[in-house]
Amino acid sequence: MDNPILTLDKGTRCTAWNYSGQRLAAGLADGALAIYDSTDPASSTFSCTSRFKVQESSILRIVWVPPEYGDVVACVTADGTLSLWEEVVEDTEGPQWRLCKCFDRNTSQILDVQFGNNGTCLKLVAAYSDGQVKIYELLDTLELGKWQLQAEFQNVIDLVSKYSNASCLSASISWNPQRSEVQQSNFVLGFNSNIPPLNSAKVWEFDLDHQRWLPVAELSSPEDKNDQVYAVAWAPNIGRPYELIAVATDKEISIWHLGSNPDPDGRLSVQKVAMLSGHGSEVWQMEWDISGMTLASTGSDGVVRLWQSNLNGVWHEQAVLAPAS
């Protein structure tokens, strides 16, 4: 029932599928990026169509930019740089990948980067190893080289505190996948760091009136506040009255309901609806399906686990995809 669809080159460090699942970008240890394509929409066979050098150091992470901006990938490399590469056709030559932006390298490394698209503008959130979060905005819809730094903050509820000597191993960002143009853009972010207040997953929302980003919810119970967060995932909402967010810490995967109406302080109500344990160790990645009903997770135990809620609203482990020994 598992069907091999492509073979990755030696030294592949990370992979990412584009929005339609028709292209795969793979980052290699030698700093090269490989693109695999399928020939037609019904086909499930893929072959490498281009391969080019991004950096001298290993590629750690690849993220596709929303398709409204073209075929563009963001690459985070081991030396801490972030660059955007775009596929274009110029003159009579075939498609070429060209560098369209290299973000300035500062002293800290980029741990995660995610793009948020609310119809009219593209935003980029980057989380750094010193605990800083930066948000950039694209200035020109057709030119991915022009970005403006919109905000810079730390992942803390109390906006006054500043932690200068943070050291973070990983970070995870997930935008609200809703595409509505009226709704404000928001995302959830968590760190795995040595500064407990930075760790817990928090929901950030752009406050139009004051033109700034504000934390509107914290997804952790008082006793788990300082737990290191490995991964977060915001579920697609096809019509539920609440949002669904999964947070993986060093203890468990928790599922949260996030209310939509803020209280007078601007905070959104949160409710932890499930505590799921399974991977037993580090969770690498969590992904929701298109209906937001099934959560898939992977971890250092080397298996994929699928989680669902039953008819009584109880979350449970539905299936395990384990490599046959």
């Binding site: 096809i238 019509g239 298109i290 449970h316 299936a319």
Partner: protein, 706 residues
């Protein structure tokens, strides 16, 4: 898929079981190694179409081997009974009846409880069931070959068996008075399904059929009598009579010596073929006499039973020399007289025993009364060795427990079955209606019916050949269908033209304009970046994306704003032509069309044409310079290109006020130069001077002229 869970019996199925939420253990899908050896440094996951998950296996450096990506389909429900192609045929075929039923529902809400609503559902059910296979009875005798007792035919599917069961019990109100007979017909069609793992009457008959050709005198073979008793017990009268006629006493050379024996065989055969049946009609090849009303039937039954008793007590038995015939026939009479222990001996599966009870022990059962108690009794007598997937469903139906029926449909037959069977369950049952249509906050505010449709649509969307029919099911969902449809559409690869057109059509039918706009936007940007500028502008215009169109207009200005002799302009002409029709959507692009016209008339002037043509070109120039959408960066090149018009020898082409406008523009330009963001043209430095001079000269000539 909330509530989707596993069943230990069916490893590969995902199903909804509401009544056993606490003791579930996850299904394990083994992933083959594909030559990879641990340790893996990383697994990476991504959802592809619908319920498909893609897993990347990344290997650590020192192992120096390649990585793999595998695709796992998370639904595989039929356990191999139905091939993929057959399943798709069923999926496609069921769309039309489903959609028709929904539209009937929407057009007449009140008639849902009308007495003829079930007839609509019945039509729907018949259409669906015709997709699931042939309906010919496998126990029908063949006329040609006297020794062929059973007709060989395609193996029926459990799916069809399950569908027919639901139809019998939930939809067909006509058959409520003769359910036992319907069940008998059902078993005749599907008894073979149970043969795989345990003995059944059907299996015994098949085995005997194979032996039959080699047997000389059948009446001496105990198997012969056993096969007939079994067939008689489950009511396959035609088979029994056909077998009886193979009796040796019918042979011409035997007839004289075995007259009495033959008379008894024929008497039993006659009685069997005259058995009264409580049903409105019988198919031509079936035996028995049908009665529509209970009193008539009871009367006929009593008479028939009296005849059997009379035959049983007849003196002729003593004169019958052939012992096997005597015992065999007597045994068959006992079956018809309802001898419980003999019935139990000659049947194998509990459901066969169950049918035999209805036929010979409780012939007057009408409707569902105490059917479940009897089923339990039969199950105690014939314990289930292997639990066939139909069993749970039958028990659920007899228990009259809709929840169990639904759970069994889902567990054993998958989301296609559940989605379509819900229409049968709710036909006229208020209790089922409440259960399935009640909105539940635990499910995020949707009802169970909608949940199943969403789950099914997600499975349809897993395949490139079926994703487009998912829309039909999603639009029948009250609350979350359109949300899922949106997400599904956003995942379509729009750079494939056919996919884009199909998606736009689906959006149009469902009022999802903003989704189709977004898809056209993605396509437009894709084409723009991939050198297909014409298609790009076309799709962006369709998407009414002014932001990007204005941006493209600016881009085009940079190209076309060169001098008139520039060959490059030619390559843009076609594109500007394309922009023409709908260029109102972007102000900047409207300018381009005027500019193109101006360039054409100017070209004619350069080729040395009349004053009249020059006058037209001059008017075009003024109109362009007056138009607020003409970008500033074009002012100077426009004037520079028109020097010949300004210096027209025969007479000034531009009057005083027009010249003043042009001079003002020149003034604005020199002020604009001081502001940031000014775009410097690449004209020679003396260009400005010569324009000023030409304008001044023209002004003088115009004043004189006026």
């Amino acid at each position: 898929m909330p509530g989707v869970t596993s069943d230990s019996g069916e490893l590969n199925s995902l199903s909804v079981v509401p009544h056993s939420s606490d003791t579930q253990s996850p299904i394990v899908y083994p992933l083959r190694n594909h030559g990879l050896s641990p340790p893996l440094i990383r697994l990476s996951i991504s959802w592809a179409r619908g319920n498909t998950l893609r897993v990347s296996f990344l290997q650590s450096e020192e192992h120096n081997v390649v990585g793999k990506v595998v695709e796992v389909k998370l639904t595989n429900t039929d356990g191999g009974e139905i091939t993929d192609a057959q399943r798709r045929r069923i999926e496609y075929g069921s769309v039309a009846p489903f959609a028709l039923l929904q539209s009937h529902k929407n057009s007449s809400i009140t008639s849902l409880y009308d007495k003829d609503w079930w007839e609509r559902v019945m039509e729907y059910s018949k259409e669906i069931s015709s997709l699931l296979g042939d309906s010919k009875s496998s126990a029908a005798p063949i006329i040609g070959d006297p020794k062929a007792v059973l007709r060989k035919m395609e193996e029926p599917t459990s799916l069809r068996a399950a569908w027919e069961l639901l139809e019998i019990f939930y939809v067909d109100k006509h058959c409520q008075t003769w359910i036992p007979e319907r069940l008998l017909d059902w078993l005749a069609d599907f008894d073979c399904l149970f043969s795989g793992n345990q003995p059944t009457v059907h299996a015994k008959l098949v085995a005997f059929q194979e032996e039959l050709v080699t047997i000389q005198a059948v009446e001496n073979d105990p198997e012969y009598w056993q096969a007939m008793s079994s067939a008689l017990a489950v009511g396959w009268l035609d088979v029994v009579v056909k077998l009886l006629r193979l009796h040796g006493s019918y042979l011409f050379d035997q007839l004289g010596s075995r007259e009495i024996e033959n008379g008894l065989v024929e008497a039993v055969a006659l009685l069997i073929s005259q058995m009264p049946r409580m049903r409105p009609y019988l198919l031509a090849e079936k035996l028995g006499e049908s009665y529509q009303t209970k009193p008539e039937f009871m009367k006929a039954w009593e008479k028939w039973r009296a005849q059997i008793t009379k035959l049983d007590c007849s003196a002729f038995w003593l004169q019958c020399d052939h012992q096997k015939t005597r015992d065999g026939l007597k045994n068959m009479l006992q079956i018809m007289l309802g001898n419980a222990s003999i019935l139990s001996n000659v049947t194998y599966h509990w459901i066969e025993l169950y049918i035999s009870h209805f036929l010979y022990i409780r012939p007057f059962t009408v409707g569902l009364e105490s059917m479940y108690t009897l089923a339990q009794k039969c199950m105690n007598l014939k314990p289930i060795l292997y639990r066939h997937k139909l069993m749970g469903l039958i028990i659920g139906i007899l228990e009259e427990n809709t929840e169990v029926v639904l759970a069994e449909c889902s567990r054993s037959f998958g989301p296609w079955m559940t989605t379509h069977a819900i229409e049968l369950l709710t036909a006229g049952s208020i209790q089922a209606e409440t259960l399935l249509h009640e909105q539940q906050s635990k499910l995020g505010g949707i009802c169970i019916e909608e949940l199943h449709r969403l789950v099914y649509a997600q499975i349809l969307s897993s395949h490139a050949l079926t994703w487009n029919i998912a829309a039909i099911y999603l639009t029948s969902c009250m609350k979350q269908g359109l949300g899922l449809l949106e997400n599904l559409l956003y995942k379509q690869p729009v750079q494939h033209h056919q996919v884009l057109l199909k998606s736009i059509e689906i959006c149009r039918l469902n009022g999802l304009d903003f989704v189709s706009c977004n898809m056209m936007k993605i396509a437009g940007v894709h084409y723009w970046k991939h050198g297909k500028k014409g298609s790009a502008v076309f799709w962006l215009q369709q998407a009414r994306d002014e932001l990007r169109l204005n941006r493209i207009a600016k881009h085009l200005f940079d190209f076309v704003g060169k001098s008139i002799s520039d060959e490059g302009f030619k390559q843009w002409e076609g594109m500007i032509e394309l922009l023409g029709t709908e260029s109102k959507t972007a102000g900047g692009l409207e300018f381009l069309k005027k500019y193109r016209d101006f360039r054409r008339s100017l070209q004619q002037v350069h080729e040395g044409i009349t004053t009249e043509a020059a006058q037209k070109a001059a008017e075009a120039l003024i109109s362009l310079m007056r138009n607020p959408s003409t970008p500033q960066q074009f002012w100077l090149p426009l004037l520079h290109d028109s020097l010949k018009l300004l210096n027209w020898k025969e007479r000034p082409l531009i009057n005083v006020s027009q010249t003043n406008i042009l001079l003002n523009k020149l003034q604005d330009l020199s002020l604009a130069r001081l502001r940031p963001g000014f775009v410097e043209t690449d004209l020679p430095p003396e260009a400005l001077k010569s324009i000023r001079l030409a304008l001044a000269t023209n002004l003088g000539r115009a004043i004189l002229n006026e």
